[in-house]
């Protein structure tokens, strides 16, 4: 897959038509509307219709002109010079130019709590009306990618001048960009209405057409209950719904609706093992643990086989192309005998009355810290329960301990857990490596803490250094392969499945697009068959 679109079915006109209102049920409302503040993929799915990006990532992972017609990177990777498109205007009529872009790119320098602060940008300089120079303090290989995502929304200068960052966060009516749709109406907790920007005439070449969008209006409603979304779709109260649970695909299709599936990029949904404390301080136990999980069987049971097993901590399709190491496919798997012999080797020779393995009188217990909110998505709760109960066969006593999100972070900081689950979506290989680097270890002093296994491995750190700063794709790919091997060899993580975006639409909805991460992209190309 990758940037896939639904194939028009036979009885639908092949030529897009303009007009109509699309009602789309999203599963959550973004808590914050400013893409720079929080790296939420859900907010991207909406902001990508409102904002244009500086550069556009193509289906093959390469970058094409967006609001910047071209860019130049200095050899040391520290200076970026962007030439900007002319004639672009914001929804409020103000023009887009280097000064406005500078305002936008300078934001992290003044606001320490933006998600984009750590991109390494040190200074920006307006060269002329349509040229901006960005200077970095350190090389950042992911900068161009970052500029291709709505995490860098480009706001109208008027908005940035007249409104506080807090207002931008809470009020999407201030989301005034240059994109194909503008925000017409917003009811907190309920819905957001997008209206076509008729002046739009600067679609990047990565899109399917030029000029204004097809749809007159998009009504985005926030409906957290999956069953409610499905009911609404099948009863024609909605044209498209987000996150159809895998088990409901058949039901949706039976109702005559279309199901679009898109694999995500970044990391799979994986288990992060904490190698710092017993029992996972022993590599053999970690590998035994991995061998004891029948990933395929469990996925079949819990997701009806809709989700595919992931072989590595980097997902196929994650840019740059080739970043996923194909050689890892089939390199590991379910093997109870191997698990048993590894455990014996590690000293867990005895089995207690309840069937759990024991070493020196200590039961083989694994504490699994669970973010109780996060596991509610995608039936991960069920998968987790199934994994925990299936591990009993190999003699593991897995105890799932739920924490709410804030306590979860604190709990991980303590480092007393053995296991945690996570997934990170992002269309650049760097993000699939960061969760295993020393710098990402959660600590109370700093660090964003996405290294749930608290892994600190010099080999991975070194490879990440290359991935994050090298501008040579091949160098980055090699380093990424090295990391993937290292993680599997050492048993730092158990990759589980490739997350999918599963969108249900009525048969009239055409031209649906997903972005490189696998989330719903701009509604620009979407049209409704009459």
């Amino acid at each position: 897959a990758g940037g896939g679109a639904s194939a028009p079915s036979a009885d639908v006109p092949a030529d897009p038509v303009s007009g109509g209102t699309l009602t789309y049920l999203a599963n959550t409302e973004p808590p914050v509307w400013d893409g720079q503040r929080i790296p939420s993929l859900n907010v991207n799915s909406i902001n990508s219709s409102i904002f244009d990006t500086l550069v556009a990532q193509d289906a093959d992972g390469t970058y094409k002109p967006g609001l910047a017609t071209s860019w130049e990177i200095s050899d040391d990777g520290l200076t970026y010079t962007f030439d900007l498109r002319e004639g672009v205007t914001f929804h409020d009529g103000s023009p887009f130019d280097a000064a406005v872009l500078k305002q936008n790119i300078d934001r992290p320098l003044n606001e320490p709590d933006l998600a984009t602060v750590s991109t390494g940008i040190a200074a920006t300089e307006v060269v002329d009306e349509n040229t901006l120079k960005v200077t970095l303090s350190r090389p950042n290989a992911a900068l161009i990618h970052a500029f291709s995502t709505p995490h860098w929304p480009i706001y109208s200068g008027v908005v940035l001048t007249e409104h506080t960052p807090a207002e931008l966060s809470s009020n999407p009516l201030l989301s005034i960009g240059t994109g194909p749709f503008k925000v017409a109406e917003y009811t907190k907790g309920s819905k957001l209405v997008l209206e076509r920007n008729d002046a739009y005439d600067w679609a990047p070449e990565t899109w399917g057409h030029t000029g204004a969008a097809y749809l007159d209006e998009v009504v985005v409603q926030f409906v957290p209950e999956p069953q409610a979304r499905i009911g609404a779709l099948t009863s024609d109260q909605a044209d498209a719904v987000d996150q159809v649970p895998p088990l409901n695909i058949a039901e949706v299709e039976a109702a005559g609706d279309t199901v679009l599936q898109q694999d995500n990029t970044g990391t799979p949904y994986y288990l992060a093992l904490n190698p710092n404390i017993a029992p996972f301080d022993d590599r053999d136990v970690r590998l035994a643990f991995r061998s004891a999980i029948d990933v395929d069987g469990l996925l079949q049971g819990v997701y009806g086989g809709v989700y595919q097993k992931a072989w590595s901590t980097t997902l196929p399709g994650t840019p740059p192309e080739g970043a996923f190491d194909e050689s890892l496919v089939g390199s590991w798997g379910y093997d109870l005998d191997q698990a048993e012999s590894l455990l014996k080797k590690a000293g867990y020779t005895a089995v207690d009355a309840e069937g759990y393995r024991v070493k020196d009188g200590e039961r083989l217990t694994v504490q699994w810290a669970v973010d109780s909110l996060y596991v509610q998505t995608d039936q991960r709760q069920q998968l987790g329960e199934a994994i925990a109960s299936s591990l009993k066969k190999a003699g593991f006593d897995v105890v799932r301990k739920p924490y709410d999100t804030a306590s979860f972070t604190t709990e991980l900081t303590k480092g007393e857990h053995n296991l945690a689950d996570a997934s990170r979506g992002f269309a650049d290989v760097g993000t699939s490596v960061v969760p295993f680097t020393t710098r990402a270890i959660p600590s109370s002093g700093g660090g964003s803490g996405i290294n749930y296994g608290l892994v600190s491995d010099p080999a991975i750190d070194a490879a990440y250094g290359v991935i994050s700063s090298s501008l040579d794709p091949q160098e980055r790919i090699d380093a990424a392969h090295e990391v993937q091997h290292r993680i599997l060899d050492e048993g730092y993580a158990v990759p589980l499945y490739i997350p999918q975006k599963i969108v249900g639409t009525t048969s009239a909805v055409q031209g649906w697009k997903f972005d490189k991460v696998g989330y719903t992209d701009s509604f620009y190309d979407v049209w409704l068959a009459p």
Partner: protein
């Protein structure tokens, strides 16, 4: 008065227990058995999962079929009785105990103590029960015990207020006056007359509160803050099953039924106790 008097003097005429109450008491009996000795009723391990056998229809092996992980629904519900009942009873015990302590202090002590405690109760009453529960769970961490505390704590103010108003009534009564003229010490007075006579409606209310707590616990589960999976607590089973409503509606119907039937049974029994109490009271 004359009326009930004759009724009381003729113990030969036994009160007839309504059919509904008999059924309710029978249901409660079964629930207690399920809670105390689930092994007697359950047919399978409530936690043993087999994802390959998910959503199986009812069969001789699985009386009510299996759930999303292939666990036996019937056995899960039987084992769930303990969680739901202990939640209802535990929370109520906390609410009543706290209520009696605060209520007796407020109602018996006059003046500044009463004012302070009563105002304090006002403040607590003003707290949204959901928030009290959420904060309690956040502080105590997840788990059955936390949920019991969370629900129980949230209900203390209401219960304390009830106790207080009862104590106020009792202490104004002639018999307390008579006891004072006999020279009873305050502690004896509270122990012998005030507390026992204030307790009636409080206890009846407590019985009804068991049902309320169970429902409240279920709502917490819905919000993802209640029982911890894979606990077969009914509220949680129900909350989890809603994801499969269209593919396996029976998964929701049974736990929903368990909760409703339990609460109805407890309420019917509680009402009946209340009526008996009130009629005994009014005939006094």
């Amino acid at each position: 008065m004359t009326l009930s008097l004759t009724a009381r003097t003729a113990p030969a005429r036994r009160e007839r227990v309504p059919v509904g109450v008999v059924v309710a008491l029978a249901v409660i009996g079964v629930l207690v058995v399920a809670a105390v000795a689930p092994g007697l009723l359950a047919t399978q391990d409530p936690l043993a999962s087999d994802p390959a056998d998910a959503f199986a229809p009812p069969s001789a092996e699985h009386w009510l079929g299996t759930d999303q992980l292939g666990r036996d629904l019937y056995s899960r519900l039987v084992h769930g009785a303990w969680y739901s009942l202990s939640l209802g009873v535990g929370a109520t015990v906390i609410a009543v105990a706290g209520g009696i302590l605060l209520g007796v202090i407020a109602g018996y002590a006059r003046g500044i103590t009463d004012r302070v405690v009563s105002r304090g109760l006002d403040v607590l009453l003003a707290f949204p029960e959901v928030l009290v529960a959420l904060v309690a769970i956040a502080v105590l961490g997840p788990g059955q015990a936390s949920v019991i505390w969370a629900v129980g704590l949230g209900r203390i103010p209401g219960s304390a207020r009830l106790v207080r108003s009862q104590v106020l009534q009792v202490r104004q009564s002639d018999y307390v006056g008579s006891a004072v003229t006999l020279g009873l010490s305050p502690l004896r007075l509270i122990a012998r007359h005030v507390v026992p006579n204030s307790l009636g409606p409080v206890l009846v209310n407590a019985v009804l509160g068991v049902g309320v707590s169970i429902i409240f616990g279920a709502a917490l589960s819905f919000l993802g803050l209640g029982a911890v999976p894979p606990t077969p607590e009914w509220g949680l089973v129900l909350a989890e099953s809603r994801q499969y409503l269209s593919i396996a509606p029976a998964l929701s119907i049974w736990p929903g039924l368990c909760i409703t039937v339990t609460v109805v049974a407890i309420t019917v029994a509680g009402r009946w106790a209340q009526q008996r109490y009130v009629s005994r009271r009014s005939s006094l």
